[in-house]
Amino acid sequence: MNPPDGDDWISVTEASLSAQRLTSWASRPDCGAVVTFCGTARNSSTNGRLIEALEYDTSVELAELRLGQVVAVARAKWPELVAVAIHHRVGLVNLGEPAVVIVVSSPHRQAAYDASRFCIDTVKSFVPMWKREVWEGGSAWSEEAQDLLRLEDL
């Protein structure tokens, strides 16, 4: 997967995510701040079982469309942003591996931090993506589900 021509980089993929690659891509001479968020698969669950992996389900096309909208809204809220990347995995993700990586760069750190938080909060409430908790001998959809927001709610 090659970097895009522009400053937005959206991807929903079965491949492992590389926070390092996105962070390097977003580091520019005019940016004093690069904030990288990794949302990693965690070994606790909403139902108390010992989680062995997480599995993500979506429509890649619809999820990428909405991730692009998340970035567009973030750029409208924080015009000084330079590079913005959101990559999300689908399929099985092992514990400790990132399921989502968000990288934001900007001249000053306030906008980068604020936009990074906005992006992950919005990924979780606006992007069609479902998490299944997998344990030995079984699995279930996460009970942390939120109602899907509309674009006009952002």
């Binding site: 949302g39 993500y56 389900d57 979506t58 429509s59 619809l62 469309l65 999300h88 399921a99 989502v100 992950i120 990924v123 979780k124 409430s125 606006f126 992007v127 069609p128 993506m129 479902w130 998490k131 959809w141 996460s142 009970e143 942390e144 589900a145 939120q146 109602d147 899907l148 509309r150």
Partner: protein, 78 residues
């Protein structure tokens, strides 16, 4: 016939991800889906958002020949 795409818990409850169902409106397609997949699926539809292609719609929306109805339960990604 209209195409339907079932995501996350809706896919599980229906036992499939894609289907083709009769109906001239979104509501008619959803009614046909609940009749085919059962009441557990119906319970998920009631808390789900419904899209026509990539747009949020109401049940009265009429369907064109290439439209796809998408059932999106509450999300848990990230």
């Amino acid at each position: 016939m209209a195409r339907i795409l079932l995501l996350g818990p809706a896919r599980d409850a229906a036992g499939r991800r894609h289907d083709e169902l009769p109906g001239r409106t979104v509501g008619e397609v959803l009614d046909a889906a609940v009749a085919r997949y059962g009441t557990d699926f119906g319970a998920i539809v009631r808390v789900s958002q419904i899209w026509l292609n990539a747009e949020v719609v109401g049940v009265d929306e009429a369907l064109g020949p290439h439209d796809e109805v998408v059932v999106l339960p509450p999300v848990s990604g990230g």
